[in-house]
Amino acid sequence: MSDGPERGAVDHGPDRSGSDALSTPGTADGVAVTGTLTVKRGLADMLRGGVIMDVVDAEQAKVAEDAGAVAVMALERVPSDIRRDGGVARMSDPEMIEGIQQAVTIPVMAKARIGHFAEAQVLASLGVDYIDESEVLTPADEAHHIDKWTFEIPFVCGATTLGEALRRISEGACLIRSKGEAGTGNIVEAVRHLRSILGDVRRITQADPAEQYAWAKQLAAPIDLVREIAATGRLPVPLFCAGGIATPADASLVMQLGAEAVFVGSGIFKSADPARRASAIVEATAHYADAALVAKVSTGLGEAMAGQEIASLEVHLADRGW
């Protein structure tokens, strides 16, 4: 049997893969094991080719599901409002998250502050399907991210570079998204991050074993993960794009650059016709290589969200994370 592209094959943290239980010989069925690496990364695999939409209430969550979202991200304010209002951005009120869980049948994700493991524990107790340890919220710890291995609920984390992505994976993240610059409606930062991460992945596939150590040192990342990239030619977990997607063509662009799915934050509910734009971005993500289809769904969509030049920003959310 070939190992093929199986992601659960290499375990980088404490053994939670359940492989011991699974390899135990016996006549009866094995023991059911929850929270394994395969199960956690597997949900991210099922979201590939889809759109995850930021929603602030049950009504928006229904609009997202109606449009074909594969999941929703529950948060109190979309990034552009966080940017405008300033102050400390925190985990959402559990009542709001539960309202969204009851409103839709698709997976519900929610955000915790960087390093705020107590917020993550609360989200886990609510039964959210994925936790986003997110730079969009105000960081709670300036040196440490959450030890994500200790949770049965999977985590997604943002990254701007391959080194940052691998540090998050070494902490237990099961899905990486580009950070982009959330709330700007400007795709330039997400493109920079995807090109940086995927460009280095491609370069590592050309590295000999001695050079792989230099890569690990340069990226400040574990050598085992660098070796895995050299062997497979891809990140050990799925790579999605977030931060600045506002149009169907933006989604097509980042999918063609190598993102495997997209997160859309302010881009939908800050536009003129959210339901239609949401549906158009879903179509453009699924058929990203079909320019005629992207043209068709882009036609007459109304105003996109107002965008911002990166140079005009007071706060760069992507700088948060270590």
Binding site: M1, S2, D3, G4, P5, E6, R7, G8, A9, G18, A21, L22, T24, T27, A28, D29, G30, V31, A32, V33, T34, G35, T36, T38, V39, G42, L43, D45, M46, L47, R48, G49, G50, E65, G68, A69, V70, A71, T105, I106, P107, A124, G127, V128, D129, Y130, E152, I153, P154, V282, E283, A286, H287, D290
Partner: protein, 193 residues
């Protein structure tokens, strides 16, 4: 003749790799034109409500339904099982399905992601268990008289079923390195019914 893998959304890549391990070429299916000359179709894991909408908007639903009714062999895993089932509970009211296997399935019947699990599973006719990965998996609630149940969870709940040329699993064999279920499906595409 080649096997198609529905590639509108979900883990089509893992199915493609599983078929390649068995020396089977395959091609992605996204538009009605991609259905020409297929010997079988894999419906992957993903989000069944999203897949239902994309099948509709791409114009694939009706021609694919016709091809399945004309005898195109199909293998559906998780969301793919939901799409092939005759009755879906806890879905959206507008969610479409092909009705190619006489099962009533309940979406996310085991619960949210925290309840997702993996387990070794005895399969009828196999001499050793298969590793089975269940992710927000559908639960089979009723099974029609023409359906063969090939594996049950804890000896009770059907999780691998076959009716004629349609094979469905509530779990994801494509996420493991065990290729026996894909081999079973490939054999189904090569035998006359």
């Amino acid at each position: 003749m080649t096997i198609g893998v529905l590639a509108l959304q979900g883990d089509a890549r893992e199915h493609t790799a599983a078929l390649a391990d068995l020396g089977e070429g395959s091609r992605p299916v996204r538009t009605p034109g991609d259905l020409d000359g297929l010997s079988g179709l894999v419906l992957p894991g993903g989000e069944s409500t999203t897949l239902s909408m994309l099948l509709e908007s791409s114009g694939l639903f009706d021609p694919l339904s016709g091809a399945l009714r004309a005898g195109l062999p199909a293998f559906g895993t998780c969301a793919g099982m939901i799409l092939l089932a005759s009755t879906v509970l806890d879905g959206r009211s507008d969610q479409r399905r092909f009705g190619m296997i006489d099962l009533t399935v309940r979406r996310n019947g085991y619960g949210r992601q925290a309840a997702s699990f993996e387990k070794e599973l005895s399969v009828s006719g196999f001499d050793s268990p298969v590793p089975a990965v269940f992710i927000r998996a559908p639960v089979v609630e009723t099974v029609g008289p023409d359906v063969d149940v090939l594996a049950c969870l804890d000896g009770a709940r059907p999780v691998l079923c076959r009716q004629g040329r349609v094979l469905v699993s509530a779990f994801h064999p494509e996420l493991t390195s065990d290729r026996r279920l894909h081999r079973m499906f490939v054999a189904m595409t090569k035998t006359e019914c």
